[in-house]
């Protein structure tokens, strides 16, 4: 069947993660607009670049009450020929790594309110597939990130360590986000890393896009006072590795090399930046500590 010249093109929401452009084709009415609202940014204009990943997203009506895994990777199964199933039909799809094209069918409940954050993990996997196609490494890191004086600060730690608290206590500063940041090699091959904001959502909604050379990685711990300290290098790298999104693409599941690649990435990041432990209380006073340690100008 050929398309009628009168037929409308399939609505598309284009989203950029770092320099990886995704085209999310949304044939169902309202879905593209809903994604734009969720990510709080308009679709990247057509002509601004060629998408490296193109996914057709279909929302499936259902009358069951699905369970929602914390990680979509733990319940993912490969079905052959690029097809996959996550959590017994919660998400199904197919992806061709050669063309970068695929389809994702998701039960409607997963695109409801905060549960959409779980759906975002599909796009984490799409990002891994995109990087493989682009041949340029970059790592998504569960983190808060803030730019100060043109320098990027990455705050990492396990759930509950205070990533969103850092963002909420950085008024007047350029907060890239409180959920997911991108770390990629600085252009020019001079060593070092660049910190880039991503569209992925935590609880902090005043995030702004941007990027800056990575100045420091700060491992968050709650403490009785604001204090910057050292950690054994192996422990610090292990913490950072644990916050790196597993390098598992849409057509993959975790394998024996997944965790070693995360550790290797953390070690590479650590080799070219400063790692410190930041013990802090939930107030903006930790910035005084960072200003003193890193020679940053106070907030004017």
């Amino acid at each position: 069947m050929t398309a009628s010249p009168l037929s409308s093109p399939v609505p598309e929401y284009r989203l950029e993660v770092g320099d990886a452009l995704f085209a999310l084709r949304c044939p169902q009415p309202g879905l593209a607009e809903g994604l734009a609202m969720w990510f709080d940014r308009p679709s990247v204009p057509a002509g601004a670049g060629e998408p490296v990943i193109s996914l057709e997203i279909t929302v499936i009506a259902h009358d069951d009450q699905p369970s929602f895994p914390r990680s979509l990777l733990t319940t993912k199964r490969l079905l052959g020929d690029g097809a996959f199933d996550i959590s017994d039909g919660l998400i199904t799809g197919r992806f061709d790594p050669l063309t970068g094209r695929g389809e994702v069918r998701v039960k409607a409940a997963l695109l409801t309110g905060r549960l959409t954050r779980i759906f975002e993990q599909v796009l984490y996997q799409a990002h891994i597939s995109a990087r493989a196609r682009m041949g340029r490494p970059a790592w998504l890191v569960h983190s808060s990130s803030v730019i100060v004086d043109g320098q990027g600060f990455l705050f990492v730690g396990p759930s509950g360590s205070g990533k969103s608290t850092v963002a909420a206590n950085s008024p007047g500063r350029h907060v890239l986000g409180d959920e997911m940041s991108l770390v990629r090699p600085l252009a020019g091959g001079a060593g070092g890393w660049e910190l880039v904001g991503t569209p992925f959502n935590g609880t902090f909604r005043e995030k702004r896009p941007g990027s800056a050379p990575l100045r420091a990685v700060l491992l968050l711990e709650h403490g009785p006072a604001h204090e910057l300290g050292d950690a054994p290098e192996s422990a610090a790298v292990a913490v950072l590795a644990g916050e790196i999104v597993p390098p598992v693409g849409l057509d993959e599941i975790p394998g024996p090399d997944t965790l070693p690649r995360m550790v290797d990435a953390a070690q590479a990041i650590a080799a070219n930046t400063t790692l410190k432990v930041l013990r802090f209380t939930p107030d903006p006073g930790f910035w005084k500590t960072l200003e003193g340690a890193f020679g940053l100008p106070p907030l004017s």
Partner: protein
């Protein structure tokens, strides 16, 4: 599980990837779901585990390198060895 004593020989689990990080090590669980970090002394012990030496010989190596008595080293080493075995990072013979 085999009881751990100073005649025990520990054999690193070949399925566990290991990375040298500074003075320490990161050892990954065979299931690929967890990392274990060893700092300087733990890493020193790990490097002694060649599948030949007994824990008594490893304790003697610790004493020759660090300011600690043989009794104290042996006690801590057996406890540490039990943790390594429980985490399936080593096998005990």
């Amino acid at each position: 599980m085999k009881s751990i004593n100073l005649d025990t020989i520990l054999v690193p689990n070949a399925a566990c990837p290991v990375r040298e990080i500074g003075d320490g090590l990161i050892i990954m669980a065979p299931t690929g779901t967890a990392t274990h970090t060893l700092e300087e002394l733990g890493a020193f012990v790990w490097r002694q585990l060649d599948g030949q030496r007994t824990l008594r010989q490893v304790a003697e190596a610790i004493v020759s390198e660090y300011d600690v008595t043989l009794d104290a080293a042996a006690k801590d080493l057996c406890e540490f060895a039990s943790q390594l075995v429980a985490a399936e990072l080593v096998g005990a013979q």
